[in-house]
C-alpha cells in the first residue's frame, strides 16, 4: 500500500487506520481428539488504509468476511497475523491494558440494534457505560454528557430511563450510535448499521451518520452489502470476496468503471427501479456458489466462478496492486503479463 498518497482530493489528510496483511483464521478441530485439522480463513491477507475524515465502504456478499474484518480491526477477535495501526499506534498484538487505553479512539456500531443493547440496562446506563469505564467523571457530569449525546443523535432526553425493548429499530440504532460516540472516537466501524432497519429508517440513520461525521470529523469503515447505500455514503469502496479485498477504488471510479470481474458481477446485480430497464438489464450472473473459506481454491479465490477465467488464475494468486492511480485490483486480467485477456474483459463490461 505504498502509492496511496497520490490518491485524490483528500490526499492532504493523514492515514488514520492502516491495515496490512490482516489475517483472521478460525481453527477447526475435528475428531475424537479435537485435533487442529484446518482453518476457516475468514479474512485472508487484507490490506487497506483509511484516511482521516473519510468513509471507506466495505462491500461483498454474505459470508465473505466483511464483519469479521471489521471486528478484527477493533481487536474484538485476536487476529492471526498482520498489523493494524490506528492513529499511528500498532494494536494488533498489544496487551489488554494498553488496548483498553486505546479503546476510546475506536468504536463500533453494530448490525442488529436489538442484540447490541443489553435488555437489562436503561438507555442512560447503556450510553453511560463507556463514560463510566473511561472518563472518570462524576455521575452528574456523566449524565450531562449522556443528555448531550442523546440530543446529538436525536433522542428525546426523556427516554433516558427506558429500556431497549421499548424502542423502535431506528431509535435503538441511535442509542447504539450514541454509545459509540460517547468517548469522542476518531474512528468508527459501522458493521452493517442499516441492514436490520426498514428503508425509511435506513435513510434517517445514514443521514445521521453523515451529519455526525461532519460535526465531529469522524472516520468510518462502513461495512454493508447494500451497494447503493455505500455509493451514497462512502468516499472509497473496497470489495471483498472470500476473505480478500479484490478491488479498492474511489467511489465514482468503481461504480462507473469496475475493473475486477467480481465487482462487475456485483454491480450488475444491483436492482433497477425501472421495470423495463430491469428486465432488459444485461446482467453478469455468476454460476455456482462461493467456495468454502476453510478450503479456498488454489490460485485466485474467484477462479471457480469468474466469467473470464484463465489458466494462470487457477495456479497463481494475483497480487493486490495499484493498476491505475488510486485504484487497487487483484486480478490477472489487468496484469501486463496477460495482455490478450484484457480487451475481452473490457468488452464484457
Amino acid at each position: 500500500m505504498r502509492g496511496l498518497r497520490a490518491m485524490f482530493d483528500t490526499s492532504a489528510n493523514k492515514k488514520l487506520v492502516e491495515v496490512d496483511g490482516l489475517k483472521m483464521y478460525f481453527p477447526i478441530y475435528t475428531g475424537l481428539l479435537r485435533r487442529h485439522t484446518g482453518n476457516v480463513k475468514a479474512v485472508d491477507g487484507v490490506s487497506f488504509d483509511i484516511l482521516e475524515g473519510e468513509t471507506l465502504g466495505l462491500v461483498g456478499e454474505s459470508g465473505c468476511g466483511k464483519s469479521t474484518c471489521g471486528r478484527a480491526i477493533l481487536r474484538l477477535y485476536e487476529p492471526t497475523a498482520g498489523s493494524i495501526k490506528i492513529d499511528g499506534e500498532e494494536i494488533a498484538n498489544v496487551g489488554f491494558d494498553k488496548l483498553r487505553k486505546m479503546r476510546p479512539t475506536m468504536q463500533m456500531v453494530f448490525q442488529d440494534p436489538q442484540a447490541s443493547l443489553n435488555p437489562r440496562m436503561t438507555v442512560a446506563a447503556i450510553i453511560g457505560e463507556p463514560l463510566s469505564e473511561h472518563s472518570g467523571k462524576s455521575r452528574s457530569d456523566q449524565l450531562d454528557r449522556i443528555y448531550e449525546l442523546m440530543d446529538a443523535v436525536g433522542l428525546n432526553r426523556d427516554f433516558a430511563n427506558r429500556y431497549p425493548h421499548e424502542f423502535s429499530g431506528g431509535q435503538r440504532q441511535r442509542i447504539g450510535i450514541a454509545r459509540a460516540l460517547a468517548l469522542n472516537p476518531k474512528f468508527i466501524v459501522c458493521d452493517e448499521p442499516i441492514a436490520a432497519l426498514d428503508v425509511s429508517i435506513q435513510a434517517q440513520v445514514v443521514n445521521l451518520l453523515e451529519d455526525l461525521q461532519k460535526q465531529f470529523g469522524l472516520t468510518y469503515l462502513f461495512i454493508s452489502h447494500d451497494l447503493s447505500m455505500v455509493r451514497h455514503i462512502a468516499d472509497r469502496v473496497a470489495v471483498m470476496y472470500l476473505g480478500k479485498v479484490v478491488e479498492l477504488a474511489p467511489r465514482e471510479d468503481l461504480y462507473a468503471d469496475p475493473l475486477h470481474p467480481y465487482t462487475k458481477a456485483l454491480l450488475s446485480a444491483v436492482p433497477e427501479p425501472d421495470p423495463v430497464a430491469h428486465d432488459n438489464a444485461n446482467r453478469t450472473i455468476l454460476q455456482g456458489d462461493v467456495p468454502s473459506p476453510s478450503n479456498p481454491p488454489e490460485g485466485c479465490n474467484f477462479c471457480t466462478r469468474c466469467p473470464s477465467v484463465m489458466d494462470i488464475c487457477r495456479k497463481i494468486d494475483p497480487e493486490f496492486r495499484e493498476v491505475r492511480p488510486g485504484r487497487f485490483v487483484a486480478c490477472h486480467l489487468l496484469n501486463d503479463t496477460k495482455m490478450p485477456a484484457d480487451p475481452t474483459a473490457a468488452v464484457e463490461a
Binding site: L76, R100, N118, M121, A152, V153, G154, R157, N161, Y163
Partner: protein
C-alpha cells in the same frame, strides 16, 4: 417508568440536536434507581405479595413467637401427653407432653435458617461455577467435569461419610447444635449446586455470543465487570428459579437427614424432625403431622411465589405489563 404521562407535554415533542437549552435540564427526571421499578412491578404480582406476606408471617412466627408463647419446647409435662388442641396447648402435645406450638416455633427457626443458608450456599457455588465455566473457555472442561462428578456421586452414602467424619470435630468446635447446623448447611449446599451450575453455564454460553457483550468488549470493559454488568443480570431468571426450588429442597433434605438420625439430635426440634416423629402417631393424633407438614409446604410455596414475582420484576421486558 410508568409515570411517563406526568411529564409536561412540551418535553415530549422531539428535541432536535443540540437545541435543548441548559435550563430545561431540570425538567428531565434523573435516571431512577431501578430497584424502585422492580418494587413497582413486584407489587402488581398478587401471588408474590401473598407469598411475601406469608413468609414474613412465618419469620415472625418462628422468631418473635417464642417471646410471646414462652413455654420451653423441651419442657416435659408427662400428664398432658398426646393431648389434642386446647387452650393450654393450642396445637396439642406430643407423646412426652411437650407443647407442639413451642416446638413448631423452635423447629421453624432451624428449618428456615437451614433452608435459606443452604440455598444461598448452593446458589453462590452454582452461579460461580456456571458463570466461570461458561465465560472462560479454558475452565469450561474441568469445571463441568467436576459438576458431572458431583452429579454422578451417590449422595446419601456421601452424606453419611461426611457426617461420620466431621460431626465430632464440628461439635467440639461450635457446640452440638451449631456444629450440626454448619455441617448440614454445608452438606446440603455442596450436594445441590450442580443443576444451577449447568443451567447458568448454558445461558452464559449463549449470552457471551450476543452483540451487546461484544459491544462492551469494544469499550474495553474488563471481564469481572462484564460478568457483573452484562452476564449476571441476564441469567437472573434461571438463578431465581433454582433459588426458590433450592429452599424447598434444603428443608426436605434436612428432614430426611434428621429422619435417618444424621441431622440434629433427636430432642432438637426441626419441622422435618417433628413431621417424622409424628408419623408414628398418625392414628391417634393426625393433627401432629399436619402442623409441620403445613408449615413446610406453605413456606416453600410462599418462597416459590416470591421467586416468581421477583423474576418477573427483574426482567424489564415483562415489567410494566
Amino acid at each position: 417508568m410508568t409515570d411517563g404521562p406526568n411529564q409536561p407535554l412540551a418535553t415530549s415533542g422531539a428535541t432536535p440536536a443540540g437545541a435543548a437549552p441548559v435550563m430545561e435540564m431540570e425538567a428531565y427526571r434523573p435516571p431512577r434507581n431501578q430497584w424502585w421499578d422492580v418494587w413497582d412491578q413486584f407489587k402488581t404480582h398478587k401471588g408474590a405479595l401473598l407469598g411475601l406476606g406469608f413468609f414474613i408471617f412465618a419469620l415472625l412466627f418462628v422468631y418473635v413467637g417464642p417471646l410471646i408463647w414462652t413455654i420451653d419446647p423441651t419442657f416435659i409435662d408427662i400428664r398432658a401427653r398426646n393431648s389434642g388442641p386446647s387452650l393450654a396447648h393450642p396445637m396439642g402435645t406430643d407423646q412426652l407432653g411437650r407443647d407442639t406450638l413451642a416446638r413448631m416455633m423452635a423447629g421453624g427457626q432451624t428449618s428456615i435458617a437451614v433452608g435459606l443458608t443452604a440455598m444461598l450456599l448452593s446458589l453462590v457455588l452454582g452461579t460461580l461455577i456456571g458463570v466461570v465455566a461458561g465465560y472462560f473457555r479454558r475452565l469450561d472442561g474441568p469445571l463441568m467435569r467436576l459438576t458431572d462428578l458431583f452429579l454422578a456421586m451417590p449422595l446419601l452414602p456421601l452424606l453419611l461419610v461426611i457426617i461420620m467424619l466431621f460431626r465430632d470435630q464440628l461439635r467440639a468446635a461450635f457446640g452440638p447444635e451449631g456444629g450440626i447446623f454448619i455441617l448440614i448447611v454445608f452438606v446440603i449446599g455442596i450436594t445441590s449446586w450442580m443443576q444451577t451450575a449447568r443451567v447458568v453455564r448454558g445461558d452464559v454460553l449463549a449470552l457471551k455470543e450476543r452483540e451487546f457483550v461484544l459491544a462492551a468488549k469494544s469499550i474495553g470493559t474488563p471481564s469481572h465487570r462484564m460478568i457483573l454488568r452484562h452476564v449476571l443480570p441476564n441469567v437472573m431468571s434461571p438463578i431465581m428459579v433454582s433459588a426458590t426450588l433450592g429452599i424447598a429442597n434444603a428443608i426436605i433434605t434436612e428432614s430426611a437427614l434428621s429422619f435417618l438420625g444424621l441431622g440434629f439430635p433427636s430432642d432438637f426440634p426441626t419441622w422435618g424432625r417433628l413431621l417424622f416423629d409424628a408419623t408414628d402417631w398418625l392414628q391417634q393424633n393426625p393433627e401432629r403431622v399436619m402442623w409441620p407438614g403445613l408449615a413446610i409446604s406453605l413456606t416453600v410455596l410462599s418462597v416459590n411465589y416470591i421467586g416468581d414475582g421477583l423474576r418477573d420484576a427483574l426482567d424489564p421486558r415483562i415489567r410494566g405489563r
